[in-house]
Each structure stands twice: as C-alpha cells, then as structure tokens.
C-alpha cells in the first residue's frame, strides 16, 4: 500500500465533515417534517393511514410519558419473544440451506437482549449458526425496530422541550410507524442498492465450497442476503455483522467507497437528530450547538486515534521498522478508512468493526473505549445519542445556570429536583454497570479466563466488553471470549438495563418538562447556544467520563502504553 499522505487525509476528513454537516442539516429538517406529521397528511401518507386503520391506532391520541414508556417496553418485549422463537425453531423453517439447528437457548437469550437493545453484541458467528431466515426475519427486523425505538424516544424528548402545560409527549405507535416507514426503510433500500453496486452479496445460495489455490486447502464461502442487513446495520447504528468478521469481511464491505458509504450511513441519523431538535424548537442554533459539541468531540477522538496509529510503536522505530502498524487493519481501507470507521462506529453506538481494536496501539485503542464510556453521546446511537446528550446538557445547564445567578433552566424549562434525578440516571446508569461488572468479573472464579491476554491488555479487553454492552455499542475489543455463563447472563442483563433504564428516565424527564411552562429567554438567560456553553458541555462530558474511568483506564491502555513505549 502507498505511504500515508497526511495532508490528503486532512483534506478528505475536512470534506467528509463538511458533507456530513450539510446532509445532516437537511436530513434533520426532513426528520422534523416526518415527526411533525407533515408527510402523513399527503398522498404519500396513505400507507401510514392504512396501517393505523389496520391496527386500530388513533394517531391523534397522544400519550403521557408513562404510557409511551409502557408501550415501548411491551413492544420490545414482544419483539424479543418473537426473535427468541425464531432462533429456537429455525431448523424447521425455510431458507436454511446449511440446515442449522436451534440456537442454544442461553445464547439465544443473549442474542435477544443484544438485538432488541440495539447493541448487537455477538457471541455467535452468524455464518455458522444462523439461517438466512433468522438473519432476515429475526435480526434484520430487530435492526429496524430497535433503531426505531431509539429514534422514537429522541423525538418524544424533543417534543417535551417544545411543549408547555401538557403531559402528552406523542404516540409511540405513530412515531414508530413514521420512523420505519419514512426514515429507515427508504434509507435502507437506497443503502442496500449502493452496497450491492460495490459488490456486497445478496442471495439465498448455499455456501460455496472452493478448491484451494495451488497447495492451499479449499475454502467454504458463506453466502446470504447480506446487503439488506448490512444497510440497516449501519443506518440504525446496530452494528451486528452478517458474518463474524463484520465490516472487515469483503462481502460486507468490499471497497474503499463502500467503506466511506457505511461510515456515512452510520453517522447520518445520529448527526441529523440535533438539527431536527433545533427545528422542533424553532431555534436552529440550539440544535446546531449540540451538533457542534458532538462534532468537536468526534474530531478530537478521530485525531487521537489516527495520531497514535500514525506514530505507531516507538519500539519498532528503534528497530528501524517504519510505516504504520497494519495488524488488524484491512489493507483496502488503510489508516484513514480504518481510523474513521472505528471512530464513527464507537462514537455512535453502532459497534460495527472493520478494524480489530485489540491490535491498535494502546492509546489509539483507548479512543473507542473512551467514546463508548462517555455514554455514547458523540453523535451516539440513533436516538440514544441524542437523548443521552440531553441528560448531559441538563447537568451542564444546572451548574452553569447557577453560575449566572438563576435557578437553572434549559430552553425555558426550569430544571428542578425531578429533572435532576432523571438526568443523572440517564447518564450514570451505564457507567455504574461497567464499573461494577468489570470488578465483579475479576472476583468471580474463572472470570479472568475470558481474556486472551493478561495484565493491562487483558484488562482492556474486559473493560471494553462491559463498556460495549452497557452502552449498547456491541463492538468487541477482540481477544475476549464472552461465551462463559457469567458473561452471557450478566451481559444480557447489562444490555437490557443499560438500554431501558435511561430510556425510561429520559422519557420521564421529557414528560416533566412538557408539563412546565416555558419561560422567556433574554439577556439574563444563560445562552445555551454560545461558544462558552459548547465548551462547557464538552468539559462536563469529559470530566464526568474521566473522573469515573480514569483509574480503570490507567490500569488498562495507559499502563500498557507506558509498558510498550518504555519497554517495561
């Protein structure tokens, strides 16, 4: 491969961010029209109306947060049960050319928890245990629905801030229908077609047995309806690969263009949601500021990851070996394509991988870890990134509001005891789960066996695993075996708690602010769209993250980096 041209990469990144910002702006506007019901009334909305008639949904019947949350939970529970059934009886169902039997119930539970929570933590290899039907009707469907769930919550939170003196924050069924119908399906179809054009496969063929080239032994090439799943896997920040190798696999991500396309699809909805919020509020600057917060953190993370990989291992330099470390990276993507994909996938809760983080230099490998540990707010998962960010904003506004001598308010809503509680639950739940379970894994007998390495690197693998599950990212550091009973059960639990506790908390917050009056803003109000405030939110996010995980990171990647660079 060609040597790295730093200036070209900088130009590409600058262009990429510019393109993302422009597209996110317009897509944000589109999201706003979708969820304010502007499409539903038109001719295009006929399918939507037909669905309501069929299901007996009254689109004008809005719900209080408790009803919204209840319906959301019921819906996800049902989705989970159906997925579990499919996993258990796939042997009797069609589209199973490899004749896979039922999935082990314990693993099935983990898959269910993983896919309904938008985590897509995979303790199985898709190509060795799942039939095509399971992949399509089980996993791909959940990819749509879990992403839809996240977006619904984000929209309900946006509504809470734009309303006053009401308890209603929207109708879950209506929001879900609109998300799938107008946002996810069209994008998924376009994405799938573009991916197919790049060579991503889409078929129901049995696996191909090839003869080896020369003396090499023969290979089995798994087939399947990959493109349709790949597309929504990126768009919905799901990240669960059709194949075990995920987006490093040439049938999932064949070319540099498909690589950039996938990165773009991963970031599209999460980066559009802050803009949509601005349009909901009729204060685009407010939404733009949140986007800037995310974008700055994203660039910071990307530059760190890219930078440390660019520098490589100093010990190698001393041996006269130059060039960037390529272990764990795909040659067709190079440093830029790998670093950007890794940043995008862990900044959002996607968790798709085209690079093995286990092989990154320690501090570069710490970047995905930190992005996840910050609570997935740097764009974040579809919906979840936005609503978790709102949790951080509430904390930031609370302290900042005090500093200007007002009882704190955000967008005209007073932040009082209840909002404070809910915001804290939203942002701290995942972190607390990570701390407790990581420590627990080291205490229980045999817990350490899951790590392929020992010492600092092994600890990174463990920390990453729980970080990824609790924050519903789903990527793995590699080098970690999550198939032990303890990890399957605790992991399933962590994914569910890390998903639904924050969702309920932020819905409650939304319901609470919707019921408040909206106060006027003026020169005496804290400007939440100013540069100072943007810096402040970034500080709050980083400080809370650092304060919580500094000791852990010190004994993981930081210690490893010193060992590597100091040779001790």
């Amino acid at each position: 491969m060609s040597p790295i041209d730093l200036s070209t990469d900088i130009i590409i990144i600058a262009f990429f961010m510019l393109l993302l910002t422009i597209v996110a702006y317009f897509f944000g506007r589109f999201l706003f029209s979708v969820f304010s019901g502007k499409i539903s009334g038109t001719r295009t909305g006929i399918i939507e109306r037909w669905i309501y008639r069929l299901t007996g949904t009254d689109p004008d019947n809005e719900q209080e947060w408790k009803e919204y949350g209840r319906d959301l939970l019921i819906f996800n529970l049902f989705g989970g049960i159906i997925l579990f059934i499919i996993l258990s009886i796939q042997g009797f169902l069609p589209l199973n050319p490899q004749e896979f039997g039922p999935v082990n119930p314990l693993i099935a539970i983990n898959i269910v928890a993983s896919f309904i929570t938008n985590t897509n933590w995979q303790i199985y290899s898709g190509e060795t245990v799942l039939s095509y039907l399971t992949q399509m009707s089980g996993l791909t469907v959940q990819n749509f629905l879990s992403a839809g769930t996240g977006i619904c919550v984000a929209i309900a939170v946006m509504r809470g801030f734009t309303r006053k003196d009401t308890k209603k924050i929207g109708n879950f069924w209506v929001d879900l229908t609109r998300t799938v119908l107008y946002v996810l399906l069209p994008l998924a179809i376009i994405g799938a077609i573009l991916l197919i054009s790049q060579g991503v496969i889409q078929n129901f063929d049995p696996y191909i047995h090839t003869t080896g080239y020369g003396t090499a032994p023969g290979q089995i090439l798994p087939m399947g309806p990959v493109a349709s799943q790949e597309s929504i896997k990126e768009i919905g920040t799901n990240g669960g690969g059709f194949f075990n190798a995920n987006s490093a696999h040439p049938y999932e991500n064949p070319t540099p263009f498909s690589n950039f396309l996938e990165i773009f699809l991963i970031l599209l909805i999460p980066s559009s949601l802050p803009f949509a919020f601005g349009f909901f509020l009729q204060k685009p600057r407010q939404g733009f500021s949140l986007y800037i917060v995310m974008a700055l953190l994203f660039l910071l993370a990307f530059s760190t990851l890219y930078g440390f990989e660019y520098l490589g291992n100093p010990a190698f330099k001393d041996m006269g070996i130059t060039g960037i470390p390529m272990e764990g990276k795909e040659v067709r993507f190079g440093l830029l394509g790998s670093a950007l994909f890794s940043t995008a996938s862990t900044a959002t809760s996607s968790g798709a991988v085209n690079t093995m983080y286990d092989s990154l230099t320690p501090l570069a490998g710490m970047v995905p870890m930190i992005l996840i540990l910050l609570g997935e707010v740097v764009f974040g998962g579809v919906g979840s990134g936005f609503y978790t960010m709102i949790g951080f904003v509430i904390i930031a506004v609370f302290i900042a509001g005090l500093m200007i001598g007002r009882t704190p308010e955000y967008l005209g809503k007073k932040i009082s005891v209840f909002e404070m509680k809910m915001a804290i639950v939203t942002i701290l739940t995942s972190g607390v789960l990570v701390l407790i379970l990581t420590a627990l894994a080291l205490i229980i007998p045999g817990g350490k066996l899951a790590m392929h390495e020992t010492g600092a690197h092994g600890f990174s693998e463990l920390l990453y695993a729980f970080a990824s599950m609790a924050n519903n990212n789903g990527s793995a550091f590699a080098g970690f075996d999550g198939t032990q009973f303890f990890y399957i059960i605790s992991g399933s639990l962590v994914m569910l708690l890390g998903r639904f506790i924050p969702i309920l908390a932020i819905l409650a917050l939304s319901g609470s602010v919707a019921g408040k009056k909206t106060l006027q803003s003026g020169p005496g109000t804290l400007p939440t769209d100013s540069l100072s405030f943007i810096i402040w939110i970034i500080l709050v996010i980083l400080i809370i993250g650092i304060l919580t995980f500094f000791p852990f990171l010190a004994m993981g990647p930081v210690a490893e980096w010193f060992i590597m660079s100091g040779g001790i």
Binding site: I395, F398, I399, A400, G401, L402, M403, I404, G405, R406, T407, I415, S416, V417, E419, M420, K421, I424, L428, V432, L435, I436, T438, A439, L440, L442, I443, G455, A456, G458, F459, K517, T518, L519, Q520, G522, P523, G524, T525, L526, P527, S530, S532, F533, I535, W536, I543, L547, F550, P551, F552, A554, M555, V558, A559, W561, F562, I563, S565, I568
Partner: protein, 700 residues
C-alpha cells in the same frame, strides 16, 4: 401590672446589638469550634450524606491506624495516622463552616428573642376600648381574639388595629427608633407582635397563631433552625450525592482491579484501604458539600442585615430569576412628593414678582410641595423673605383647590390652573393669553403646573415635578443589561406617566392603574413565561402580591399585604427589591461557582493520587506524576490536606458570596467559567505541589 415598661430599654438597644454580629469575633469562632466537634455525632450528619461518608471514612482509617500500630494491618502507622487525622480535620472544617454561619444567625436570633418574652395581654370581648376583659398570656392568644393595648404596653402578637390609633415603636423588628402611627382602617392597620405602643391605646385583632408571628418567622429564618432546603438546593444535593456514590463505586471497584493488575504484572500490591478512602474523600465534592449550608444561611443573613425578611429560601432564589419588575412610581422611582423646579411668569410679569407672590402663597404651606417652592425660591433669589407676620393662612380646600395667604386686602393664592382660572374669571379678572400655552407645556412634560395669582391677577406658573430618586436611572440601565424589564405602575394619566417613564428610563408603564390592572398585568407577563416581582403595601395590592412570583410587602403595609407576600421589607423601602434580586443571584452564583470549583479540583487530585497509588503496580504510570511530588505517601497526603484546608479558605467566599455584576448572562458565565472552572482545575495543582514541598521539608 400588665407588663413592664422595663422592656422598653430592650427594644431600643436590641437593634444595635444585632448589627454588631456581622464580623467574625472570637467568641463566635470559639462557639463554632465547639459546635463543629459536637456535630461529629453521626446523627447530626445524616442531612449531609457527603460529609457523613467522609466521617465514616475517618472512622475506618482510625481503626486501621490502631490495627497498624499492633501490626494487625500492614502499612506505615505514621502515614495511616496522618491520613486519618486530616480526614477528621476535613469533617471538622465542614462542621465549622456550617457552625459559624449558624452562630451568626443564632446571635442575631437571641437578641430578637429578648423582645419576645411571654407577656400578658388584656383580652376583650368586643372591639371597644372600654370593653371588659381578662388577662391572658400572649402565647394563649388565637387568631380572632381582641386585645386592648395601652401606652407603654407591648403588642402581644401580630394583628390588625380595629379601633383607635396609636404611636408604635417598632424598633424591635425594624431597628428604627422613631415611632410610627398605626390606626384602624386604611393601609396602616397592621401591627407586629413585640412592638411597643408609646402613646394612645388601640384594640388589636390578633391575626397570627402563637409561634407563627413575623417575629417568630424572623427568628426561625435567621437561626437557620427551621431552614428548609429549597428545591434548587435539593437538586444540587442530588447531583452531589450521586457523584459521591459514583466515586464510592469507583474506589470500591478499584480494589479488585488493582488486585488483578498487581498479580498480573507481578509487582506492587492491592491498593490499601487507607489509600482508597483517601482517594474517595478527595474525589467526593466535599468542598461544596461542606459549604452548602453556610451559603444558604449566609444568604438569609445578608438579607436580614438589609432589614429584609424572606419567608422562605425559595423566595430569595426566585428573586434571582425575576425578569419583570413591577414598580410603583411613587416611592420607588420618584420621591413621593412633587417638587418645584422652575418659576415661569406670564408675559409682562417679572420673575421676582412671581417668586415673591409664590413665597407668600406658600409661606404657611407645610406640605412637601409647599416647602419645595420656598426652597427653590430661596435658591434663585437669596433675599429676605417678605414680612408676613400678620398674614392669615388660607388653607387648601377641596372646593377651591387652592391655598395661599391674606394680609388685609392683599391675598396670594396658588392652585390648579382650571381652579384659579375659574376663580379669576368669575371675579372679572383677565386671563393672560400665554397662560394656557405655558400650562400645557408643563403638563405635557409630565409636570404639574401651579398657577400663582396676586389678588385677582395671574402672575405665572410654578412647575412642580416628580423628582426621580438619585441613581434610579442607572439602576434601570443595569437591570436592562441583565435582562430585567421594568414596568412603572402609576395612577397618573398617560401623558404624565409617559414623561416620567421616559425620564426614568423604565421599559414600560401602566398609567391610570387600578388595583385589578396590576393583577392582570402580572398574569399577562406570567403567561408569556416571565417571572414577575412586585412590591406592595395596601390591601388592594394583596391579590397581585399573591400572584407575583416574588412579592415584597412593606412592613408598614396592611396585614393582608404582608400575608400575601413572601418577602417583607422592614424599612418599607420599595427600592430594596433591586437589592433582593441581587442577593438572590449571589446565593445561586456562589453555589454554582463552588460546585464547579469542587468538581474541577478532582482532576489534579487524580494526578496526585493515582500515580502514587498505581506506580507500584505499573512503574510506567509514575510518568503521570506531572507535579513531580516527592513520594507516594506525601502525594496522597498533600491531596488530602489540600482537600481539607480549601474548606476554611473558602468560608469567607461562601459567606460573602460571589459578587454579582450587572452584565449579560453570557458574559457572566464566561468569566465565572474561567475563574471557577479553569481556576478550579489549576489551583489544586499549585496547592498540592506547595503542600508536598512543605511535607518534604519536614523531617519525619
């Protein structure tokens, strides 16, 4: 003897004693130190979970210290002992911060309480001074009871005068020794328990339950005894407790992780409990948790020193949020009385003649307007006053709407233009052709024209004007800059109101205001999402006061007004609303600034403690010791000591409060973010380094 005039001395001096408490004196500090020790009782700490956990940490380290002495626990007893000692000091400093602010309040309260001895009241059955009655103790009075209070007696409880009028000395609560008139009916009927009738007798209908009077509320507020946390304090407390629990989890989980790491690296050992507790205490937001009670109590105290009683902490905080102020014109924006500003003779009349006539017409006029005419005349023409010894005063009457003086056949009259014109023309006098124009000019400028005539000829016009209070204009400019809208309320006509509004620089005005208009105006602004503050004194104001977010009642107002309000100004100075807004803001700012500072400090503490604690396991981590601290023990100890001594160092800031400047919120935020945020990150790096250097210098 129904009560002693001996109380009188107590009343007059009580106020002076109150104001003495403002500085830190030795006795106060001594009491606070003792209180700080007494507050070590764990039951006392249950209100403050952060400090409770710190104290538990102190207890555990103390136990470890003793175990290490007898070698049951490993580790250097000196190090463990020192950490333990400084953790205790941290708790004591926090207790001291609370105790010293409580002490100041208590000192004030005890002087107030002196005026609240149990006294006997003469309870009568009907509101007549000669009604038969019985003697009861003041604490047995219930609302609705009537009591007769005579000269030299103390009013037993808050109430309303229903019969009679008396001079009342209210020094006990206002500190003002000049007695005020309290009479039945009208807006001066409210009396306060503990105040003294100095002349006449009145019948008072009791309106407050024993223990709930204004004085009781004052005592409770300044003592901080009954201080209930405001919603904002509770919310902040939730944040602080959550962070504390988070850090507790961090250090607890750190133990197995360090155990795994040391086994894996084959170096170092599991982190000792003493180090984990030290790390926990340093990370927990102890600074703000220790100072939070002091900030609240000090805020009350600050208001109290300005003679303002807030009936709840929430009221003061809301004052910080206000963005619309409704201000009565009279007394707030202008000095209540109109004053003469110029003499305008009609054509053909000399100014001196007009002034002379004006002096004569006003000579016996004791109203402030009359006095101001004389004052102005003397300023313009410092000459001897005309001889008026034999003159007879013509008093103002509603019928003639004029007043003046008469000597023999000569008379001087001044009055409202239409009244004088009517009088003069009815007696066949000539109306000067330019009079109308000159009168109109004054009226359009918001002034009041007074026409002066000598016998039956009109000499000219005196321009009376509402005079703005000194500095009020500048305050409105400040208010506008910080986003507070000012609305002037006046009964004047629109023209006058507009002129004064323009001169004072208020944002808007409500002219010809009727009592209902105020209420409607407040509702209108509230519906638009504004927080409205107003001052009021009359019964008419009560509904509006009850509706306003911040309602300040004048102490000389009616009981109805005082009950509807959430803040009472003992000086009855409506301008004070502006001070209240400022104090409200300062309390919140202090809270926010110290929270930011406290949390920002944690970064440096990590950099002090973590390399010290973990370098044994991974030697490379010693590179994180960016402060280059001497040894692991001194690094940990320095962080703990810094964490402790920062509390007393910040007590003065907590009590004085962060100064509020009248600049837009964005600017204020940026500067506070730099000072307390970035300052909070930097200061501990320097502080810990200095302490480390000192420790390194001490031979141990």
């Amino acid at each position: 003897m129904r009560n002693g005039s001996s109380c009188q001395g107590g009343f007059e001096t009580s106020r002076k004693r109150i104001s003495k408490v403002s500085s830190f004196d030795i006795a106060l500090i001594r009491t606070a130190v003792w209180q700080a020790v007494k507050k070590l009782d764990l039951h006392e700490q249950k209100e403050n979970i952060v400090m409770l956990l710190v104290e538990l940490g102190s207890i555990i380290t103390t136990i470890i210290f003793f175990l290490s002495l007898v070698h049951i626990e490993s580790g250097s007893p000196l190090f463990i002992g020192l950490v333990s000692f400084w953790l205790w000091i941290t708790v004591l400093f926090a207790n001291f911060a609370e105790a010293i602010s409580e002490g100041r309040g208590k000192a004030r309260a005890s002087s107030l309480r002196e005026s609240k001895e149990i006294i006997e009241a003469y309870k009568i059955s009907e509101p007549k001074p000669d009604a038969k009655g019985i003697l009861v103790a003041s604490r047995d009075l219930t609302p609705g009871d009537m009591v007769l209070v005579r000269t030299g007696e103390t009013i037993p409880a808050d109430g309303e005068v229903v019969c009679g009028a008396a001079l009342v000395n209210e020094a006990a609560i206002t500190g003002e020794s000049a007695p005020v008139i309290r009479e039945s009916g009208g807006d001066r009927s409210a009396v306060t328990g503990g105040t003294l009738v100095t002349a006449n007798e009145i019948v008072v209908r009791i309106t407050s339950q024993s223990g709930e009077s204004v004085l009781d509320q004052m005592i409770a507020m300044v003592e901080g005894a009954k201080r209930r946390k405001t919603p904002n304090e509770i919310a902040l407390n939730i944040l602080l407790v959550s962070l504390t629990l988070l850090f507790l989890i961090v250090v607890i989980t750190l133990q197995p992780v360090s155990s795994y790491s040391s086994t894996a690296s084959g170096m170092g050992s599991t982190l000792p409990v003493t180090v984990l507790i030290a790390l926990f205490v340093c990370l927990a937001p102890t600074t703000i948790a220790a100072l939070l009670p002091a900030i609240g109590i000090a805020g009350m105290d600050k208001l109290f020193r300005r003679n303002v009683i807030a009936l709840s902490g929430r009221a003061i905080e809301s004052a910080g949020d206000v963005n619309v102020l409704l201000l009565d014109k009279t007394g707030t924006i202008t000095y209540g009385d109109r004053q003469a500003v110029s003499f305008i003779p009609v054509d053909g009349v000399k100014t001196e003649d007009l002034i002379n006539a004006a002096i004569c017409a006003s000579y016996a006029d004791e109203t402030p307007e009359g006095r101001s005419i004389i004052t102005l005349a003397e300023k313009i023409m410092p000459c001897e006053l005309p001889e008026l010894n034999e003159a007879k005063f013509i008093p103002f009457s509603a019928h003639t709407r004029s007043s003046g003086a008469r000597r023999g056949d000569t008379y001087w009259v001044k009055g409202a233009p239409d009244a004088i014109i009517h009088e003069v023309s009815s007696k066949g006098g000539i109306i000067p052709p330019d009079l109308d124009r000159k009168v109109t000019v004054i009226a359009t400028s918001g002034g009041t024209p007074i026409v002066v005539c000598l016998n039956n000829s009109i000499l000219g016009v005196i321009h009376l004007k509402d005079v703005l209070k000194t500095g009020i204009r500048e305050r409105f400019v400040d208010l506008r800059r910080i986003g507070i809208k000012t609305i002037m309320i006046t009964g004047d006509n629109a023209q006058t109101a507009a002129a004064i509004a323009a001169e004072a620089g208020v944002d808007d005005y409500l002219a010809g205001a009727k009592p209902d208009d105020k209420l409607n105006l407040i509702r209108k602004y509230q519906a638009e999402g504004a927080m409205v503050a107003m001052t009021g004194d009359g019964t008419n104001d009560a509904p509006a006061l009850a509706q306003a977010d911040v309602a300040v009642a004048m102490n000389n107002g009616t009981q109805a007004a005082r009950e509807a309000a959430n803040i009472i100004d003992l000086d009855s100075d409506p301008t004070k609303l502006l001070d209240i807004v400022q104090i409200g803001k300062e309390i919140l700012m202090t809270r926010g600034a110290l929270t930011t500072f406290s949390i920002a400090n944690d970064i440096a503490k990590y950099f002090a403690i973590l390399p010290a604690a973990l370098a044994g396991i991974y030697p490379g981590l010693a590179a994180l010791n960016i402060m280059n601290l001497t040894s692991p023990d001194s690094a940990i100890l320095s962080a703990v000591i810094f964490n402790a001594i920062v509390i007393p160092l910040l007590i003065p800031l907590a009590i004085r409060g962060v100064r509020y400047r009248a600049v837009p919120a964005g600017e204020l935020f940026t500067s506070n973010l730099v000072i307390y945020g970035f300052g909070g990150i930097l200061v501990p790096f320097i502080g810990i380094k200095i302490i480390d250097l000192i420790i390194a210098g001490v031979p141990l």
